[in-house]
């Protein structure tokens, strides 16, 4: 997602507007500056931080984040600029004249050391009992600057109560360093607006509306704030202890499903460069940990495509043939629980536009505790279903009261990539060293269509592959099934595909241009909803929305850190893996055929599907009492 165009930025934090000199060609649009002893040329307006990075000079940062606008509040990135009385923050200072910069003078080092000392003096927490141990920006800075004691004392009592109200996000403000990255994430990047700085002076803290518990405000559980928090002040609600208990309990049959995005990112937790999938290795590791069965969420992703695709065609039919004006188009995807909560809060009057299909995670839970339980003759009461997800909102989703179609809680625990990595480490396993193995039957090999759900545009691409073929009897007309208009990280993508020479049963769709929109990040979702409100989506049929920037691969449960570059690499890993798969269309997945023939016998969107695989939504609204 490109930050310049898609983020609403309060004036205070807007990117610096720098007036270009009249004749920019005279200096070639670049400025020659001196960093330490080195003369370098940089484009006009580059920040000192970027200029230094380009030239391999490391400057520490805390409040700076590549996804977010500039804050300039932590002050750790200060440098000396000749001629200026005070130190300047390199993250916010644009180069507009031939300045001389010193990045490591005594004054600078002392200031940075002081700032770390100050942050630590107020930081209530112990690294060895902290989930960010060894992956914490504050801790690394303390190490980098050789802090070996508290120069200005140390807080002995926690100042804030830890907020554990949310099913997804835990807030421990005692570890907060007030970098406001979460605030900028929630307000600017996601446009949800849950967090802000409250009070002033020494009482300043990050809080919610009226400092209410997170569960009582309009948080959509996307967890994006966690991914950008430099410390452990924000973390996901970790169910791993309960999962360990279930694994240790011989009576329980513990089943795990793994989503594609965690597999494409979990290597990062083990020191591997972003961009490598560890699907096979993970399967082995999970079995060694003690999961009884390891399934692939892609199976229900395929199932989702069948259900959601069928629903779309039905809606189209009602609109095109029956002219039924009560049917809403475009149909919006429903697999991102953060997006679901977003629309429930912000656009409750538009819930009819949502596909009623459950997310793959929830479909899987329902299928396991019914179909799988029956087939393998296990009492569903003894089955514990765990979902390995890239997502924090999945934790909330599986706890929704309506998610018990099987008669039990369909999915018992949503586990994030980070938490999974921790469990694997705890079991003494180094993931990259594991031999590869396959998923368990009966849901064995899923199609590649399910795999690409992990990237923004993936659901759309998978759906088009199936819908187009169902309707026309031909493969989508894209080389190697790569539907390029669905791919890439542009905030909102819009395209259409023409349905012609339709097979007989679908000839009511002859000549229809199937228009679709793909958006990721709720800030973009908001834009799409505003378009809908203005009536600009009348000729659009299908909209895919993912709450997180980049789609699931940028989910709130994914390894920290995150940046567009990292997200791109994860996407690349997913697309590469999918091209190597034998089956790449949901409807060609043999297990899908099997389940419709033997269990969901009245077909997609049939009665049993409706009971197990579809859901309804709640009008939540924004008002907080």
């Amino acid at each position: 997602m490109s930050k310049s165009e898609n983020i609403r930025i309060p004036v205070s934090q807007q990117a610096l507007i720098v007036e270009k000199p009249i004749d920019i060609t005279a200096i070639g649009g670049t400025v020659t500056i001196q960093i330490n002893e080195k003369k370098v040329s940089v484009p006009f307006g580059t920040t000192i931080l970027d200029a230094c990075k380009e030239n391999q000079i490391h400057i520490p940062t805390l409040c700076h984040h590549p996804d977010l606008c500039i804050a300039g509040v932590c002050r750790i990135c200060v440098v000396e600029v000749e001629g200026l009385r005070t130190l300047q923050t390199s993250c916010s200072f644009p180069v507009t004249s031939p300045i001389k910069i010193h990045t490591s003078t005594e004054k600078v080092r002392k200031a940075r050391r002081h700032i770390i000392d100050l942050l630590l003096s107020e930081h209530y927490g112990e690294c060895y009992s902290c989930f960010r141990n060894e992956n914490c920006e504050l801790q690394s800075l303390a190490k980098e600057y050789g802090v070996d004691g508290y120069s200005f004392g140390h807080i002995l009592e926690p100042k804030y109560k830890v907020d554990k109200s949310s099913a997804a996000v835990i807030r421990d403000m005692n570890k907060c360093i007030l970098c406001k990255r979460c605030v900028r994430t929630c307000i600017d990047l996601q446009e949800v607006g849950v967090l802000e700085a409250i009070k002033r002076g020494h009482d300043t803290h990050v809080g919610t509306f009226l400092d209410k518990p997170l569960a009582d405000v309009i948080c959509i559980n996307c967890g994006q704030c966690i991914n950008r928090c430099p410390t452990a002040a924000l973390r996901a609600n970790d169910p791993s202890d309960e999962i360990w208990n279930a694994i240790d309990d011989p009576k329980k049959h513990v089943v795990i499903q793994t989503a594609p995005s965690p597999r494409a990112a979990i290597g990062e937790e083990f020191g591997i460069e972003p961009g490598h999938s560890f699907t096979g290795e993970l399967n082995t590791a999970l079995r060694r940990i003690g999961f009884d069965k390891v399934f692939d969420t892609n199976f229900t992703a395929d199932l989702t495509i069948m259900e959601e695709g069928t629903e779309l065609i039905r809606r189209l039919k009602k609109v095109v043939v029956e002219k039924d004006s009560s049917v809403k188009l475009p149909q919006f995807t429903s697999c991102s629980p953060g997006w679901i909560k977003f629309i429930e809060h912000f656009y409750p009057e538009y819930l009819d536009y949502l596909s009623s299909a459950k997310s793959p995670q929830q479909m899987f839970g329902a299928v396991i505790k019914t179909f799988y339980a029956k087939e393998s003759k296990i009492d569903p009461a003894d089955i514990i279903t765990v979902a390995l997800m890239p997502c924090a909102a999945k934790k909330f989703e599986c706890n929704r009261p309506e998610m018990n179609a099987s008669g039990f809680k369909d999915v018992d625990y949503g586990l994030t990539t980070r938490e999974m990595a921790k469990m694997i480490r705890e079991a003494g396993i180094h993931l990259p060293e594991m031999p590869k193995s396959n998923f368990d039957e009966p849901f064995g090999n899923a199609s590649g269509a399910g795999l690409i759900f992990g990237a923004t545009g993936g659901v759309m691409e998978a759906a088009l592959r199936t819908v187009y073929e169902l309707v026309t009897g031909r493969e989508v007309p894209f080389e190697n099934l790569r539907i390029e208009p669905c791919r890439g990280f542009e905030g909102i993508k819009q395209a259409y595909i023409k349905l012609d020479n339709c097979v007989e049963s679908y000839n009511f769709l002859e000549g229809v241009e199937l228009k679709f929109i793909v958006a990721h990040g709720t800030a973009n979702a908001k834009k799409v909803m505003e378009m809908l409100q203005r009536g600009e989506l009348r000729d659009v049929h299908f909209v895919e929305i993912m709450a997180c920037p980049g789609g699931c691969l940028g989910g709130g449960g994914q390894p920290i850190p995150t940046s567009e570059e990292i997200r791109r690499k994860r996407a690349q890993a997913i697309y590469e893996e999918e091209e190597g798969l034998p089956v790449r269309k949901s409807h060609e997945n043999v297990h899908i055929k099997y389940i419709y023939e033997n269990f969901l016998t009245d077909g997609p969107c049939g009665e049993l599907s409706h009971k197990l695989l579809h859901t309804h939504y709640t009008k939540r609204g924004k008002y907080i009492s």
Partner: protein
């Protein structure tokens, strides 16, 4: 007693309190034209009276040169520095100076709108100030085609603050005007380019603006005759604390502290705080210093302490002020001030080592260098100067005979 909005007492002084007839400055300004106004201003050497001391002519030139569809003049009437009240006197007794100054500023840089950011504590002035503005409108000193000059449009609005000292900082003030928390912005860009709502904005102190009509009407040369080489003109000093005649005085820049003490009838004076809580505290040995940008600089606050005062308690009062009034966004200031206050408490309890004290002073220097705005950059001033200048009393004396500020 409820303060009366007194206008009866006639003040006298070399510049600001000299004679001025409303509108004279505006008329002269129209006569001179923009360029000549800027030249006159440059010649006068006027520097900002709000504390930072930036050349007013330069500020105006930069925003006059900026190309934008809208520009704004903001009068900074947030006067919140402890011990400062000269702007109150100007607004109550000399509103014509301040408002004429704004009109001239608008004319010069091409702004059509002026905003007075009046601190919430001064809300009681609102009726009289608004009445005054209405009168100016009736006299065509505000509104469209001012004094029949085609295209010379200017209006003034008064906006209230809501009790936050930091909003006196010009970029925090702009944030506050825009409806946000009063958190200072990153600089660059500067308000002269990117100010209120992103438009070029000149923020000037009340006293700076009040000097303008005099300078324009009577000339930069006349103005420059007052003051010193580097500090031209005169200055209003707000004098409070232990003295016989507290109040506002217009004195020449360059006046010695000892001379001022005499004028205000201060006796047994031990220390003088120059520049308010963000300023420095000077001991007797430095009373021969002169009040000027190049020596003891100040936005005008002079607080006098006599021999009976406990310097540590005074310092504590200052540090409490900063801990509360910091906007809280940047680390050095938010946490640093707390640490300095803790230090003062520890000294009071006798729980300190000198290396700890030195650490704190070093921290103070970091705050001066690395804080985002002037608040954090100047809040350690009192800490460092009081601990340095009153070592004897704070660390070595047995405190006999020293009366506590708080019992």
């Amino acid at each position: 007693m409820e303060t009366t909005l007194k206008t009866s007492k006639k003040r006298t002084g070399p510049v600001l309190f000299s004679n001025y007839q409303q509108a004279d400055g505006i008329k002269k300004a129209i006569e001179l034209g923009r360029e000549n106004i800027l030249l006159e201003l440059k010649n006068s050497g006027l520097k900002g009276r709000g504390g930072a001391g930036f050349s007013t002519a330069t500020k105006w030139m930069l925003s006059a040169a900026a190309n934008a569809e809208k520009k704004f003049i903001v009068c900074n009437a947030d006067e919140g520095e402890p011990g400062t009240f000269k702007d109150r006197v100007l607004l109550l007794e000399y509103p014509e100076l301040v408002f004429d100054g704004m009109v001239i500023a608008g004319f010069t840089i091409g702004a059509k709108k002026g905003i007075v950011y009046l601190r919430g504590e001064y809300e009681y002035m609102l009726p009289s100030l608004e009445g005054f503005l209405n009168k100016m409108k009736e006299e065509n000193l505000l509104g469209k085609n001012i004094l029949e000059k085609e295209g010379f449009d200017f209006d003034i609005n008064i906006r209230l603050g809501s009790g936050a000292y930091v909003c006196g900082e010009e970029t925090a003030l702009i944030e506050s005007l825009e409806g946000y928390r009063g958190e200072p912005r990153n600089r660059p860009p500067f308000p002269v380019n990117t100010g209120y709502l992103g438009y070029p904005t000149v923020v000037n102190n009340v006293e700076t603006l009040a000097s303008i009509p005099h300078i324009i009407y009577k000339g930069g040369e006349w103005f420059k005759k007052n003051g010193t080489d580097k500090s031209k003109g005169s200055k209003l000093f707000s004098v409070s604390g232990d003295c016989g005649k507290p109040g506002v005085y217009e004195l020449q820049w360059g006046t010695k502290i000892s001379e001022l003490l005499e004028i205000v009838e201060a006796k047994n004076c031990k220390a003088v705080q120059v520049g308010g809580a963000s300023g420095v505290c000077l001991p007797k040995s430095q009373f021969n210093r002169s009040l000027a940008y190049e020596d003891a600089a100040t936005g005008g606050s002079i607080i006098i302490f006599d021999e009976s005062r406990n310097m540590l308690k005074i310092l504590k009062n200052f540090m409490e002020f900063f801990v509360e009034e910091s906007c809280g966004q940047c680390t050095p200031c938010r946490v640093g001030n707390t640490k300095l206050l803790e230090g003062v408490d520890n000294i009071g309890k006798g729980e300190y080592t000198f290396s700890y004290i030195n650490n704190l002073k070093e921290l103070g220097k970091t705050m001066q260098a690395a804080s985002k705005c002037g608040l954090g950059q100047s809040s350690p001033n009192s800490f460092i100067s009081i601990l340095d200048n009153f070592k004897e009393e704070i660390f070595y004396s047995n405190r006999k005979g020293i009366k506590n500020v708080k019992e």
